[in-house]
C-alpha cells in the first residue's frame, strides 16, 4: 500500500518509469483532476470548497509523489488523498455540514416536479441525505465505476464493508426516490437521454 502523504518529508522527484527522460511522471496526476473535482463536488455540493480540496490534493500528490509506488493504482492513491482531506474538513465543520444537509433534506420533501421522471438534482438531493460513508461509496462505485477492491483501497476498509455500504445506500436512495423493485419506470427524461447517447462515459 502506498503511503498517504504526511508532513515533514522533503519533496523529491520520482524516477521516471518507462517514460521519456524529459517527461515528469507526475503529469499523470493531471489526467485525474476532472474526476477528482466531480467527486469533491458530489460530496461537498459546494463548488468553492470542492475546488479548494482538489487544489490541496494536487499540491499534496505533487510534492509527495515519491511515496507513490509506480505500477500501483494512481487513481486510488489520489482519491485517498482527497477523501482524507474531505474527512478532515468534515471534522472541523461538522455543525456546518449538518445544517446544509438539513436544508437539502427540506427541499427533497417537496413533490417532484415531473410525475414519472426524476431530475438529476433530486437524485443529488437524495444522495445528500445519506450518511457520508454510503454517499462516498455510491459516488465511487455507482457513479465513477471504481471496482469494489479499488473503492476498498481508497476508503481504507474491507471489500465487504464497501459492498454493504453500496447496498444500503442504493436501497435508501431507491426508497427516497420512490423506486420499487420490479418497476420499469423510465428515470431519465429526453434531454438526459440525449446527453447519454452522445457522450462517452
Amino acid at each position: 500500500m502506498n503511503a498517504v502523504p504526511g508532513s515533514g518529508d522533503p519533496p523529491q522527484r520520482a524516477p521516471a518509469q518507462n517514460a521519456p527522460a524529459d517527461r515528469d511522471p507526475r503529469e499523470e496526476i493531471i489526467v485525474h483532476l476532472p474526476a477528482l473535482r466531480a467527486f469533491a463536488l458530489g460530496i461537498t455540493r459546494d463548488p468553492v470548497l470542492a475546488d479548494d480540496m482538489v487544489q490541496e490534493t494536487l499540491l499534496k500528490a505533487w510534492s509527495k509523489f515519491h511515496q507513490f509506488r509506480p505500477g500501483t493504482n494512481l487513481r486510488s492513491w489520489l482519491f485517498t488523498i482527497l477523501r482524507n482531506s474531505l474527512r478532515t474538513l468534515r471534522r472541523k465543520r461538522s455543525r456546518e455540514v449538518a445544517e446544509v444537509d438539513e436544508a437539502m433534506a427540506a427541499r427533497l420533501a417537496t413533490k417532484p416536479e415531473q410525475e414519472g421522471a426524476l431530475a438529476l438534482r433530486e437524485v443529488e438531493a437524495a444522495l445528500a441525505r445519506l450518511p457520508v460513508e454510503q454517499r462516498e461509496v455510491l459516488w465511487l462505485v455507482g457513479a465513477m465505476g471504481f471496482t469494489i477492491e479499488e473503492a476498498a483501497e481508497t476508503c481504507g476498509c474491507a471489500a465487504g464493508t464497501i459492498k454493504s455500504r453500496a447496498s444500503r445506500g442504493r436501497r435508501a436512495l431507491a426508497e427516497m426516490l420512490g423506486l420499487k423493485p420490479g418497476e420499469t419506470m423510465d428515470l431519465t427524461d429526453r434531454a438526459t437521454l440525449a446527453v447519454m447517447s452522445t457522450r462517452p462515459l
Partner: protein, 44 residues
C-alpha cells in the same frame, strides 16, 4: 441484496449525475496551478 434492475437504474442516474459534474471546466485557479507545477524546474 437490492433488486438487480433497481440497482441498474440507480447506478445509471448516478453516472448521469457524475457526467453533469464533469461537464464544467476546471476553474482558472486550478488551471494556473497546473501550469505552475508543470513549469517548475524547467529552464527559461
Amino acid at each position: 441484496m437490492i433488486d438487480p434492475a433497481l440497482q441498474l437504474q440507480i447506478d445509471e442516474n448516478l453516472r448521469l449525475l457524475y457526467r453533469s459534474k464533469l461537464e464544467s471546466e476546471l476553474p482558472e485557479s486550478l488551471q494556473d496551478l497546473v501550469r505552475q507545477l508543470l513549469n517548475e524546474g524547467k529552464p527559461g
